[in-house]
């Protein structure tokens, strides 16, 4: 009997076993897959409108649409991976029981795949409905002076195509997630990886930043030598290098900030929050890394907005004027979409971490720690990491755009204020997601024997 046949026979039992788990643990992955599907459909529908144009400015719009799509890929993939990880947590005790009964790793893999496909398919279905509900509102967005309107409705076959892509993403992420945990007959534990030298990462990261800054300085030279394509290539490489530098330096920065916070901690909340980060800065980084990308994008967005507004204040033709306004709309939509996905990812990661920390929560409860303090300690760890990460990555991006945009950022304060407001809304969204994840705590404390 193959592993898949066994898994297919066991899958219905899994479904019934899941009914007793905390509700949010099951709903969050489905909701996140729904958001991913809806956003993908909306973004692609919008991009299709751009690609239906064929005048002289059309290629600029199409290039910008591709950049926006590329910027959304990282947070999109993060949500997919987080949803899959969350789904893995949901079934962990049943997986370990099956392992105890002698189920092979292949059977567990097949079961994981079946459940991931089921959850992501349900989410994708919900996402199509969400897309249909949101399309009329998004259709009100105007580009080149005209609302997107009916352009937001795509041929029907796009829906199953995108849904299938999301299901594939869910399945692949679930399998990747399963590799990151040890399923033993005694339980499921996150696989511990040996910590690599933080100094090496720091040096590498700083090296990459220097290279990116040099590359940005050379952008005009690339433009002269190879035209717009070479210039865009150099900019894209500098952007990618900036993101790589963030990933290399991020955990180290978090560790340093948490050490300071730990030294200064006066109450239990800050002490536990600082220790949570110090315990595994890389794990915390993985939870908030999406914000780093979004903040990085945000500074580019502010620069783009300031630049477009500075250009619009001259006397451009009608086409150019629309382009500048449309860039503003585009960057804000991209930023909002990016934050929405980061919030989903943060909520999911926090929910998974809350389930992982079940025994610690029970311990704190028995010690008499007020539940408000428990939630506050967890939220503080995440939010302080978020501030450090967003501040650091914004600074990193500023280093890269300053030579290009320079004073335009400061000459157009409205652009900066707009982006700051989007950031504030994004942080509130993330805080809300963390609040929702904290709703799992009462369920864990009500049945402590499940986690001990």
């Amino acid at each position: 009997m193959t592993a898949m046949t066994t898994a297919l026979r066991l899958a219905p039992l899994f479904r019934s076993g899941g009914a007793q788990r905390p509700g949010a643990a099951a709903l969050l992955p489905v909701a996140s897959f729904a958001v991913v599907t809806a956003l993908l459909l909306l973004v692609i529908a919008g991009a299709r409108v751009f690609f239906s144009w064929d005048d002289e400015l059309a290629s600029t719009y199409q290039m910008l649409a591709v950049i926006a799509l590329a910027l959304l890929v990282v947070p999109l993939a993060t949500v997919g991976a987080s949803a899959a990880k969350m789904a893995a947590r949901r079934r962990d005790d049943r997986l370990s029981s099956l392992r105890l009964l002698g189920a092979s790793k292949a059977t567990l893999g097949a079961l994981t795949l079946i459940e991931a496909v089921t959850l992501s398919a349900l989410g994708a279905l919900g996402g199509v409905v969400l897309y249909a509900a949101a399309a009329p509102a998004v259709g009100l967005l105007a580009f080149r002076g005209e609302a997107l309107g009916a352009g937001m409705w795509m041929p029907w076959w796009w829906a199953p195509l995108i849904a299938a892509a999301v299901v594939l993403l869910g399945a692949l992420s679930a399998l990747a997630g399963l590799r990151a945990v040890n399923v033993t007959p005694l339980g499921v534990r996150t696989r511990q990886r040996a910590a690599k030298s933080p100094w090496l990462r720091l040096l590498l990261g700083l090296g990459v930043v220097v290279l990116a800054v040099i590359l940005v300085q050379l952008v005009p030279a690339f433009g002269e030598a190879g035209g717009v394509i070479m210039m865009m290539l150099a900019l894209g490489t500098a952007f990618g290098a900036g993101l790589l530098a963030l990933d290399l330096i991020g955990p180290w920065v978090l560790r340093v900030a948490a050490r300071v916070q730990h030294r200064r901690a006066k109450d239990v909340e800050s002490l536990v929050a600082a220790r949570t980060i110090l315990d595994d800065p890389k794990a915390v980084w993985r939870q908030v890394g999406g914000v780093a990308v979004t903040s990085f994008v945000g500074v580019f967005a502010a620069a783009g907005l300031a630049f477009s507004q500075a250009m619009a204040s001259g006397e451009p033709g009608a086409g150019e004027q629309y382009l500048m306004v449309d860039i503003s709309t585009g960057v804000l939509v991209t930023l909002a979409g990016s934050f929405l996905m980061v919030a989903c990812s943060a909520g999911l990661n926090q929910a998974a971490a809350t389930l992982d920390r079940g025994p610690v929560l029970v311990s704190m409860d028995r010690l008499g720690m007020p539940r408000k303090t428990m939630s506050a300690a967890t939220a503080r760890a995440m939010m302080s990491a978020l501030w450090v990460v967003s501040g650091g990555s914004a600074l990193c991006a500023l280093l890269l755009v300053a030579p290009l945009i320079g004073m335009a950022l400061f000459m157009q304060p409205l652009a900066v204020v707009t982006v700051v407001l989007v950031f504030a809304a994004g942080f509130l969204l993330i805080r809300g997601a963390l609040f929702l994840a904290a709703r799992l705590v009462p369920g864990i404390l009500a049945r402590p024997e499940r986690v001990l």
């Binding site: 002490l271 220790r275 704190m364 010690l367």
Partner: protein
């Protein structure tokens, strides 16, 4: 000896369970006593400890605790009030230690005091004193993963005592330890009884029970015997 804990008609049924985990339990525990609660798995001994300690709210009956501030009807307290009672009046030692793995040994002990309003400096000073008394001087900054099972239980014992709790609850405190370390841990717990504290210990181990003054045995959620221990 004066009464510390009075239990009348205590019962508890978990949501969805067909049979009660505890049924009509009556029990008196005096100040300075060491009481072992024994019974087979599922007999209700951990549920009894959880109800006595205000970890769960019982479905029926009354638990009266004579706290340092006066008598407290534990079964009528809400979640927050029970949490306050646990952090200010009670100490806990569990089989798995149930300490915070992120914190150092010193911080784990100090947290108990910080929750009651002590400053970090004072809390850590008091915690260091307790750790030294329990033979853990020099290990204050170690994380739990860097300590042996016996050392982790000593940290848990320090945490249970540092607030000045007069009633210590221990749930299988030696369950995960070898016999030599078990004896050492039990010695420490019983030593606190000689200093006027009260110990309620849930155990499967007859040797542990034999070292307490009283042994209460449960079967199917009811007390079937309550006798002085043979070695007491």
């Amino acid at each position: 000896m004066t009464n510390l804990l009075s239990v009348r008609g205590l019962g508890h049924t978990y949501p969805g369970a067909h049979a009660p985990a505890l049924h009509s339990v009556d029990l008196e525990i005096s100040r300075g006593e060491s009481v072992a609660i024994m019974g087979a798995s599922g007999s209700g001994k951990s549920t009894l400890l959880h109800a006595l300690a205000g970890i769960i709210a019982p479905s029926a009956g009354h638990v009266l605790f004579h706290a340092s501030t006066g008598p407290v009807q534990v079964d009528t307290l809400n979640d927050d009030e029970r949490a306050k009672l646990r952090r200010e009046e009670l100490g806990f030692v569990f089989q798995q230690g149930l300490l915070l793995s992120e914190l150092s040994a010193l911080e784990n002990v100090a947290v108990a005091l910080m929750l009651s309003g002590s400053t970090r400096r004072d809390a850590e000073a008091a915690a260091a004193g307790w750790l030294a008394d329990l033979g853990l001087a020099g290990l204050e900054d170690r994380r739990l993963g860097e300590l042996s099972g016996g050392q982790v239980q000593r940290v848990a014992i320090a945490r249970a005592h540092v607030t000045g709790a007069q009633l210590i609850f221990a749930d299988e405190p030696t369950g995960a330890l070898d016999s030599t370390t078990s004896t050492e841990v039990l010695d420490l717990l019983l030593h606190s009884v000689t200093q006027g504290r009260t110990l309620v210990v849930v155990t499967h181990d007859p040797d542990v029970a034999a070292r307490c003054q009283r042994v209460v045995t449960l079967r199917d959620g009811s007390i079937v015997s309550d006798v002085a221990a043979a070695n007491a």
